[in-house]
Symmetry: C2
Subunit: 395 residues, 2 copies
């Protein structure tokens, strides 16, 4: 058993439209650098976990397909899925396997290839990750619609505007432009967002994260292994919380907050010994699940970066830019970096590693003074929530 678990290596494919590679090749693009940065080989891996939501491609036994290409057999594996929180859920499985003492080195790969989705279309497949029967089939809601209900409720309750939401996209594109792995590497203005066509009011095209192909990988290691291999460049998992929401949105108490995210954050903060009254005092930055612009603002509040109803002020005041109260999504977030569902949570871990070790690209490196980074990964509209806290120092 290992009280502490470290991220010792990371890899990240270029996110975007990746018709140039098949699934196994796309996985290898992140596995190879993850092995290289950790200084280990395939034979050293005890167990591997594939985060894959299944939204594209025809292959079913994905860990086996990846294992063959990446030469990971005969080591044990499984696929993990928690809708858009799949990547972080996969990290949980690797983390607990090491903490439980049944593995010392675990490879976690998150992957999705959404541009080649077979029938039913990827929009329909994503739409099913709500309550299929009540909301998708009966009301025809798909994801922009689900989150638009939250965006609308937030505007109504607190007086936020479409401009406020647009500011999130502007920030995330600003940083995405500095991230060579991002799907969109172009800065935009508030006008770009406001003039883009409506998808589901109040969301316009530029309020929405894109359909993305990509993979990300991390190598996790036990405390003993870190010592044995003499790995200096590593970060630690300080805490992780997870929560599950109702499938039916009609059963939710509030649309301006995700109960599962608040629940997951509380567990993670407690585990990482972070004061819940002001977690920003402990964090150098965060990645939050900005599948649309409004949910990033709601995440500020669910994660207690500010009081309820004040999230939109944080973006108005640029408090989530580098230099502000807490930098958020300075890799471009789901909005500009892209959102290949299974890869997103793993990509957040890659970003935590890069930020904490001050390896982020020029112009998007946050100041690292407190030594902790948070990842907030949501599946569905809070159907699943995972919050993981990474740190330079052990627990």
């Amino acid at each position: 058993m290992s009280e502490n678990v470290a991220v010792v290596g990371v890899g990240h494919s270029k996110f975007g439209t990746r018709k140039d590679v098949n699934m196994a090749e796309l996985a290898w693009e992140s596995i190879k650098p993850a092995l290289e940065t950790s200084g280990i080989e395939q034979k050293d891996i005890d167990f591997f976990v594939v985060g894959y939501a299944g939204l594209g491609g025809s292959e079913a036994a994905m860990p086996s397909v990846i294992a063959e290409y990446a030469e990971l057999s005969p080591k044990g594996s499984m696929r993990v899925e928690a809708a858009c929180a799949t990547g972080n859920a996969a990290i949980r499985v690797g983390y607990t396997a090491i903490k439980a003492g049944i593995a010392d080195l675990v490879l976690v790969v998150g992957i999705e290839k959404m541009q080649e989705s077979p029938n039913p279309t990827v929009i329909e497949l994503i739409g099913r990750f709500g309550s299929y029967f009540w909301e998708f089939e009966n009301f025809g809601l798909t994801f922009p619609g689900y989150y638009a209900l939250h965006g609308t409720a937030y505007m109504m309750k607190y007086g936020a505007t479409e401009e406020d939401f647009a500011r999130v996209a502007v920030k995330n594109h600003y940083y995405g432009a500095k991230n060579p792995y991002a799907q969109f590497q172009k800065e935009i203005t508030i006008e770009t967002v406001l003039k883009s066509p409506y998808i589901a009011w109040p969301f316009k095209l530029f309020d929405c994260s894109p359909i993305t192909d990509g993979s990300a990988a991390v190598v996790l290691a036990s405390e003993e292994k870190v010592k044995e291999l003499g790995i200096d460049e590593r970060i630690w998992i300080l805490g992780q919380g997870t929560g599950t929401g109702t499938a039916n949105l009609s059963k939710r108490e509030s649309f301006t907050s995700l109960a599962s995210a608040r629940y997951a954050a509380e567990i993670a903060y407690k585990m990482a010994k972070i004061d819940m009254d002001d977690p920003t005092k402990y964090l150098d930055g965060a990645n939050v699940h900005d599948c649309f612009t409004a949910p990033e603002i709601i995440a500020y509040e669910d994660l207690r970066f500010c009081k309820p109803g004040e999230g939109y002020k944080m973006i108005r005041e640029e408090q989530t830019y580098i230099g502000g109260k807490i930098p958020v999504n300075v890799d471009g977030g789901l909005k500009a970096k892209g959102h290949p569902i299974g890869a997103t949570g793993v990509s957040q871990a890659v970003e935590a590693y890069k930020q904490l070790l001050q390896k982020a690209e020029p112009g998007r490196q946050a100041d690292i003074k407190k030594g902790r980074w948070l990842a907030h990964n949501i599946g569905g509209t809070g159907h699943f929530a995972y919050v993981t806290i990474y740190g330079l120092e052990k627990r």
Copy 2:
């Protein structure tokens, strides 16, 4: 952290054609008795895992759908998949969460509803769990074909006959007839098998496990929780191994053995401190993955119940009936009990609990003298292998 993890409660739905219930209701049929037998309530659960291969039904966020119906929110959850080894992979996630000390009580539910599969048909969906591109798409192989290659190779190499394979089905139907949860509760003869129509030579209809709807659930608990709740009726997880095979059958060295299963068994035996030279000395019985008849015989060999090439003699000599060297699949196995993919591995854990605590139905209770039971769960044709060993006494 908890060195030892126990199964403290179990539940099992009726397996078969279950058009009378939806997914959430089917899950509840096993969750309810699992909670009742463990003496806990939903609020006591820290985390839950859903083993679901996704072969039927339109709902995508299955843990959330089940959480809402079974009142498990806001507790964290995820879905786990490893083809037909999904159930045992889900148990691994619950097991490691407790062993890691991040949960004390975990609910693991395995479920599949295959009779209502949408397009593509369930046969096609199962067929993809090989190497989709090379074998399914190019050669049109589906699962009976994949395993028929193994059955044929076994016959060629060792001189086993179609009658030998038929004997497996006869045994499993004999015990299935005594299991009220089994899909088929009818005894059959060798003639029944031999006269049934060919599906893929040498397999006839009665060599094949059926398409099944069903769920199974277990509650796992830490050592501390077992003590705290004063739970007397529990078994312990003594060891678990997992292995991954190549996706392409053409890359396999042998067709008379599954390398991933041998690898998984070695890890499990080592962890459970079982002598690999004769594990049957340590085991009161086993559940093995008889998706077809021949693979049960191959499993005897991969699990070292006998030497390579002698598996067919074990069934000829009725050594895997109760009273023989080691009783195997005395709940009917996949063949007669049914094989609702995500549920199968969890159903095996339910059977281990019932057998070791001598709660199996009349006529199918094995003699419990050694206090250990093995579960062998295969995904694909050895694409995934999970072997778990349960015991009356802690490690």
